[in-house]
């Protein structure tokens, strides 16, 4: 009858067992809903659990069972709304699976990424979702996480990826197809002089999008003047600043496929300041479909990558991998969807 009062100490299965006169093993069976225990016993134990305010110690259970109940999520830039949405999607699915998300941010630094991965791995996640920092390479990642924990790469591939790392799953966006569709759409609107605007020349997503742009231009038999490919930082501010570069040469473009929405919005701003009305005198498209795209004036034609859905998808892929660790690695390239709005007008 003298159930130990939780005097400072946490309540454990032992306390519950003592409190209702059964063994620890039985309590454990009740906790896991085993059909082996007698109905009455179960009821008694459950009452005692409530009475003493027991909370399950998942870490201890994981230790004994050699399992894990967490997924690590390492993001290159969490503050970016695109990745925040992605993280929200991941967490949704992870939560539904009764697991918990370990969050880490690398701030686009491969060194920090490695440190974060190292810290994560010590907490024993069941798997890792990694959206790599720019310049992160496969060897370092492998060194940090080891070959034992399943890893899923999102959004970017790693430098120097080799056959031996081929057991990692990958989820990418179809940047190339997206840019191709946006370009084709502008061409269908009647544009012939179309620029590719913004982004860091050497980032992999920029390369892929530019490739899609060139492909569409070539397919339509249209030339690409050198000064139509303008590099700038993927920020609104820098894009606004670089707008004039589009009109520095002859002939000037009448439309632009922008690296992403931020750049497109910045370009709109830059155009307005030059008294060129975006959506009337000049057509443009973005990439990402951030919340603002629909609200901008004019509203922005862009490519929706559905980051939340991608997050869910990534988590699901990883959970499947946990279920079957030996299955063939998958590489999924998710299509992006062209959302046509007012900014992609026909030529003036």
């Amino acid at each position: 009858m003298d159930s130990t009062p939780p005097l400072g100490r946490k309540v454990t299965v032992r306390d519950i067992a003592a409190g209702c006169g059964v063994s620890r093993a039985t309590v454990s069976l009740v906790l896991r809903g085993s059909p082996l225990v007698n109905k009455d016993t179960r009821a008694r134990v459950e009452a005692e659990l409530r009475k003493q305010g027991y909370v399950y110690n998942r870490a201890a259970a994981n230790l004994r069972r050699r399992t894990s109940s967490s997924i690590a999520l390492v993001i290159n830039e969490l503050a970016n709304p695109f990745f925040a949405e992605f993280a929200a999607g991941v967490d949704e699915i992870v939560g539904e699976a009764g697991m918990v998300t370990l969050l880490g941010s690398s701030s686009e630094s491969p060194r920090r990424e490695q440190a974060v991965l190292g810290s994560m791995i010590e907490h024993g996640p069941g798997g890792i979702i990694l959206s790599p920092a720019e310049g992160s390479d496969a060897r370092h990642v492998l060194a940090a996480v080891g070959a034992r924990t399943p890893l899923l790469l999102f959004n970017r591939e790693l430098a120097g990826e080799q056959p031996e790392y081929a057991h990692w799953d990958t989820l990418l966006l179809d940047n190339q197809q997206g840019a191709r569709e946006a370009t084709a759409h502008l061409i269908a609107q009647g544009h012939q002089r179309i620029a590719f605007f913004g982004g860091h020349r050497d980032s992999s997503s920029c390369r892929q999008r530019r490739a899609g742009y060139r492909e569409a231009m070539q397919a339509a038999g249209l030339p690409v003047a050198p000064h139509w490919e303008v590099e700038c930082a993927p920020t609104r501010l820098d894009a606004a600043r670089c707008a004039e570069a589009l009109f520095a040469g002859d002939p000037a473009p009448t439309a632009a496929v922008c690296y992403n929405d931020a750049v497109a919005l910045g370009l709109m701003h830059g155009l307005t300041q030059r008294d060129v009305a975006p959506g009337r005198d000049f057509a443009l498209t973005g990439f990402d479909d951030i919340a603002e795209a629909a609200l901008a004036a004019p509203s922005l034609t862009t490519l929706a990558a559905a980051p939340r859905a991608r997050g869910r998808q990534a988590a699901q892929m990883l959970l499947e991998r946990l279920r079957d660790p030996t299955a063939q690695a998958r590489r999924i390239v998710a299509p992006v969807q062209l959302v046509i709005r007012a900014s992609s007008c026909p030529p003036a």
Copy 2:
């Protein structure tokens, strides 16, 4: 010499100890950088650690030491850039402290919030940072987390908070002071008829900001006409739609303190459509300092809440609380900073 090859099994202190002929205790001391171990021994052990590719099992260590190496972060809406920045700030500090962030999102649902808190608590975080869902109340939160784990509330207070929950730390934004400063700034610019525009009348942040506005008006001996307090949804679209309400009565205001930046930008749009030039014919201020505020035309005077800094601050407060669990609960109301830009012009 026959160091057990890591045959499927994880490498443990036991393997390392066997591999270099010392006891587990010694290896453990080396792992924790204890000054007790001999230099040569340490070197030998460290070599063996590298050789066998040992990874520390923090869960096991935490179990034995009755410590935790994680902080739970439960956010009402992770996809919102404000909270994403906040989360990034939290993770920064948590990471620096060698701990890891457990992420959870409640999607503004008190029920989900409770479930998430319950799942978190089973993973044994050292503390919890909670940005409550709207309508979340203290009793339920207490039931989910228990009295044992320190909790810090961010951004909102809980309904029905009572003395017994008073051991929770709190970090809030000074909505009232912010609105007061913005209003005072407009008054200093020479305005006398100033409106308070937008937001849901009954939301706590709107109430606080309106209170600050009224306070400043009263302090300056200025009256507030009823039609100067306009309610609208906190979105750009609705704000644009409601612009005309400002001019429905007599006398019309010459400036407005807006509920937030989205509303202010919407109002700018609405004004422009009525041929009132914001920043010249009409002055206004926002709240939040979102990325667009600096880029709008005219650029928007607003109140910066610095969500990333708030995240760092919240994490720091919680870490201090972990160090001294018995210290008096703190309640910090973080000031917001007035950023003066072009939109808050003097009267025409």
